[in-house]
Symmetry: C2
Subunit: 368 residues, 2 copies
C-alpha cells in the first residue's frame, strides 16, 4: 500500500471513526483502526462489535493494500502533525508515515484479523436530512435509561410510517418523543429499537459534516445502516417490545406556563444546588398572576426560591419534579421560550416549545 | 449583618478565595468561607490551615456581622445568579440572600468557629510587581517535586538580595531558576522555601486581577504574607535547607541550538507518543548542518523521527531526556524561539530563551 493524503482530511476521518474503537477489550485488534485502499480512495474503519463505521476520503493511491494500526497512537500522531501532505506506505505489517519533517514507523496488525463490518445495501427504509436526523436524536435519546437492566429502555424507539418518522425514548421517569417529516416518498413502514449511546454517537458524527446531507437508512434482520457522503454507520438493533408509551401522554393539562428558556434553566440549576440532599426534588408553582416559582431545600443546607415572570393559563397549580430531568430537556432545546404544563401534584408535567408541534417531553411527578 | 453588593464583585471574590477551601476535612468549618463586615467593606476569608486568604470588596454595609457558609454551595449559587444587586442578611446562623428574583436561606456555622488567619504586618521583605511575581512563579514552580517525600523539593526556593529576587525549584531531575529585578530599594536579604502548590495558587489569583499591582511581601517566623489591593495571601514556610543547586548549572556547553519554540514543542509531543513504553525517553541530535532531530521509539509501538531546521553552534552532539520535562518548560515559556544546549550524552541539557538572561532550565540526561 502506498497512498498520499492531506493531514486535514485524515484528521477529520480519524475524529469521525476513532471514538467507536474499543478502549478495553480482550481482542487487541479491536483497539486498532483499519486503513485500506478502495476504488481510488482510502477507507478508514472502526468497530466495537456493536457499531461499525467506514469512512472514505480522497487520496492519491499509488498501490493497493490494507493494515490495522493502534487507533489512539495513530490518531494522536496524525492530529499533532502540521497541516501538510502525508504519505502512508506499508512495509510488512509496519505502516510508514512520512511528511515534510516527520517520519514514523507504526507496528500494525494484519487487516485479515480485523472483524468484518457487515454490508447492508438492500432494504432501504427512508431518506432523511442529516440535520433533521441529528436534531431528532438530540431531542429524544437523552431520555433513555443509562443502565441496561431493561435493554429496551436503554434504546431509542424508531418508527417510520409514510412521511412521518418518530423517535422516542424513556427511562420510565421521563419520556421524549420527536416526530419529523421526511420528504422522500420511498419510506417503508418499520418499527425498531436502537441503542441510545450509538445514536448519540451518530449525532456527534453528523455534526462533524458542515453540509446538510441526505442520509439513506437501510435495514437487515438485526442491523441498521445509516449511509451518507462516504460514511457507513452500522449498528445492531435491540430486540424486544418498546413500551406503549403513547398512553401516558396527557391529552390536556390544568395549568400552562410560557417562560423564557434560559431563565427557567437558571432557576432550576440553582434550585438543584439546594436539592442535593433531597433526591433533587424541586417544586414548581404556577400562579395566574403571572409568576412561575421554583422552590427547593433540605434540612441541612437551607432553602431557595426563584420567581420568573411568566404567561400563565388555566388555574393555579404546583407539582414537584426531579430537577435533573428539567435541566436535561432545556439543555437540548434551542427555542427561546418553552411551555411547561402541569395538572396537579399527581400527574405528569409536559415541557415543549410553542413552535415545534412535533416534540413532547413528559416528566413523572415526585411526591413532596 | 446586612450588606448589599454586586453579584459580579462577589463572584470575583469567591473565585479568588474558594479554591483554598479544604474539600475533605475532619473539621466541617474548613469547608466554609468566612463573610464578615470590615470598615465599610465585606471581607471574604478561606483557609486550609496551610494557606489563608482574605479578600475585601466594596459593599453597602447597613449593619455589621460575620458568618461562615459552605464554600461550594454558596459559590455555585452566587455564580449562577444573574448580574444584579444582592443583599446578604443574617438571621441567627442562617444567611439570607436576596436579589430581584431569587431568595435563599443558607445554614451557616458561627464565625467564632473559623480558624484565625494570622496577621503579619511587620517584617517587610520587598515590593514586587504582580506581573513579575506571577511570571517568576510560573517559570520556576512547575519544576518542583509533586510528592513531598523530601519536603524541600516540593517547595520553591525564594532568595531576596538587594534588588535581585531569585525563585528556584528542582525535583532532582530538572531545575528551573528565574531571577527578577525589583525596583524598590526596601528589600531585605532573606532566603526561604515556600510550598510550590501554594505559589501556583497565588499565581492563579494574581492572574484574576486585570491591573499590574504592587505586591508587598512580609515575613514572620514561619509565615509569609503577600499583600495587594484588598488581598492578603498568607502561607506557611517549609523548614529545611534547599539544595545548593547552583553547582550543577553548567558554565558552558558543547552544542547550542536555537529553534522555534512551537516546532520543538510539537516534535517533542509527537516523540512522547512513541516513548510511552520507554519511560518517555526521547533523543535529541544537533547537527552542524542546521538540523535538530528528535527521535523516539519502543519495541511495541514503532519509531518516530522529526527534523527541525535550526541554528546550530558548536560541535555535533546528541543526548536523551525525559520528554515530559522538555514539554513542561516549553509550555511555560512565552518566547517564540528557545535555545537548547547540550554537552554530550552524560551532561545536563539547558533550555532558555535568547532574550531572558534571568532564566535557566536544566534537565538531567537519561542513559539510552
Amino acid at each position: 500500500m502506498k497512498v498520499t493524503l492531506l493531514k486535514e482530511n485524515l484528521s477529520k476521518g480519524l475524529n469521525i471513526i476513532s471514538r467507536i474503537v474499543s478502549t478495553r477489550g480482550s481482542l487487541e485488534v479491536l483497539g486498532n483502526i483499519l486503513i485500506k485502499t478502495e476504488k481510488g480512495r482510502v477507507c478508514l474503519s472502526a468497530t466495537n462489535l456493536e457499531v461499525g463505521i467506514n469512512y472514505r476520503l480522497g487520496a492519491k493511491v499509488d498501490s493497493e493494500g490494507a493494515i490495522t494500526v493502534p487507533a489512539r497512537l495513530f490518531s494522536e500522531f496524525i492530529n499533532s502533525l502540521p497541516n501538510e501532505k502525508i504519505t502512508l506506505e506499508l512495509n510488512g505489517d509496519t505502516l510508514i508515515s512520512k511528511s515534510e519533517n516527520y517520519e514514523s514507523n507504526i507496528k500494525g496488525i494484519s487487516a485479515d484479523e480485523f472483524p468484518l463490518i457487515p454490508e447492508i445495501k438492500t432494504g432501504k427504509v427512508m431518506d432523511i436530512k442529516s440535520s433533521d436526523l441529528r436534531k431528532a436524536i438530540l431531542l429524544a435519546a437523552f431520555a433513555a435509561a443509562i443502565d441496561d437492566s431493561r435493554p429496551v429502555l436503554a434504546g431509542v424507539y424508531l418508527k417510520v410510517d409514510g412521511s412521518k418518522v418518530t423517535l422516542a425514548a424513556t427511562d420510565s421517569y421521563r419520556l421524549a418523543e420527536k416526530v419529523v417529516n421526511v420528504k422522500s416518498g420511498k419510506t417503508k413502514k418499520e418499527e425498531l429499537i436502537l441503542p441510545a449511546k450509538t445514536l448519540l454517537e451518530l449525532a456527534r458524527i453528523l455534526g462533524e459534516f458542515k453540509e446538510d446531507l441526505n442520509v439513506g437508512v437501510y435495514l437487515s434482520d438485526n442491523q441498521i445502516l445509516f449511509e451518507t457522503d462516504g460514511l457507513d454507520f452500522i449498528s445492531r438493533l435491540i430486540e424486544g417490545q418498546f413500551p406503549n408509551y403513547r398512553q401516558i401522554i396527557p391529552e390536556s393539562s390544568d395549568t400552562k406556563t410560557i417562560v423564557p428558556k434560559e431563565e427557567l434553566l437558571t432557576a432550576v440549576k440553582i434550585a438543584s444546588l439546594f436539592a442535593r440532599e433531597n433526591a433533587n426534588n424541586i417544586k414548581v408553582s404556577m400562579k395566574s398572576k403571572g409568576v412561575l416559582e421554583v422552590d427547593s431545600g433540605g434540612s441541612q443546607v437551607g432553602q431557595n426560591k426563584a420567581k420568573i415572570k411568566a404567561h400563565v393559563e388555566g388555574k393555579d397549580g404546583e407539582a414537584s419534579f426531579n430537577g435533573k430531568y428539567i435541566i436535561d430537556v432545556l439543555n437540548n432545546l434551542s427555542a427561546k421560550e418553552v411551555s411547561f404544563e402541569i395538572s396537579g401534584k399527581l400527574n405528569p408535567g409536559i415541557i415543549r416549545t410553542p413552535n415545534d408541534k412535533g416534540y413532547i417531553y413528559i416528566i413523572m411527578p415526585l411526591r413532596n
